[in-house]
Symmetry: C2
Subunit: 204 residues, 2 copies
Amino acid sequence: MVLSEKPGNGGARPGGRTARVRTSVLEAAGDALAERGMDGLDLADVARRAGVGRTTVYRRWGSVPALVADLLQDMAEQSQPRAETGSLIEDLTANAHLVRETLAHPRQGPLFKAIIAAATCDERTARALHRFYEVRVREWAPCVERAVERDELPEGTDAHEVVRAVSAPLYYRLLASGGALDEETAERSARAAVAAARAGVYVR
Amino acid sequence: MVLSEKPGNGGARPGGRTARVRTSVLEAAGDALAERGMDGLDLADVARRAGVGRTTVYRRWGSVPALVADLLQDMAEQSQPRAETGSLIEDLTANAHLVRETLAHPRQGPLFKAIIAAATCDERTARALHRFYEVRVREWAPCVERAVERDELPEGTDAHEVVRAVSAPLYYRLLASGGALDEETAERSARAAVAAARAGVYVR
DNA sequence: CGCTTAATGGGACTATAATCCCGTTAGTGG
DNA sequence: CCACTAACGGGATTATAGTCCCATTAAGCG
């Protein structure tokens, strides 16, 4: 995790400017991805938005997927708030609304689309994406585990799979079938996940 | 209508060669997309594979998303077999297995990924994709409608939404969270859809 | 506060994708 | 079977993405 050791072996310089460049480039990349999508992304344009030389972007990231992978790692690090109301359906509904708001957001939605598109083109980006969702799922799994402890759900229920089941219908709409990402859809996906979990579908 | 004016739309020649070119180009495009993904797609390469001049591909389709949109229309036309066993869970499990086999297929899986990536970049391609799934969903909806008639599911159940619920977890794995697209996953998504539908989640 | 050098930035340079031009091929209708 | 022309194919041309070179800037350190 540590970027560099003591300046005895390599002499890396992660401080000041380098970090500032990374921040502004990732932000500019997010903006550009949200606006133009992943195929319309020009690294020279990203550099211009970030107020940085083209050469720098090409040297440090080299390709669109590599840049997206770094962006994802950055996004995974900023953690999201999690609900914990004591009721499974309320917790999962809160999660569904959070996901829905993100995907329906004028900047975040297109950004996620672009990132997922980039992940289909590049294995490293795909792995970064999978890690991102693993982090998010892990944050919400305790809601389900508590419900198992309260005997709301059968013993042995796969908490991660239940959390994923809440997101799946929303992403399916966003990427495949189309249709509105409204609040009713969010609530329905939460209720569906709970109904299936109660029926023991996610028992390992 | 005046017959002697323009034959067809304006002297168009949809016969023989033109149709042959379209077929071979779409097939080559499918191959190339499955192999290299949507960003690695070079129209010149597609032309070479199809045994067709580059100029032809650029003239008739012009861009990658336009080509993908045409490919999708072609795919939507070739209808898939549908199960009808008389049992909802068996029908939806058959559907889930069909979807799973497609997405896990060494050619079809990457092809679908690439198509969905292309749809995130281009509005027309996205609409073609939505139509594609609408056609597929419409084919399977009767299974659910029968189940409603048999009182297996509550009155007013949205058949289309139930069918979509079967696919959603599989696509979510393919595109977002990662993980194996195995038969257990397919069966679980079918059972989850049935459990949620029985609970009245998809009642309009 | 200077010294060393990692990291940056601008511009020239190269590679590849997309377009244009024009002669050739082959559906279509008579 | 022939004439007409839509549609095609190859090569030249142009546009754009990506790389390289080298002078300049500033982080890390004594």
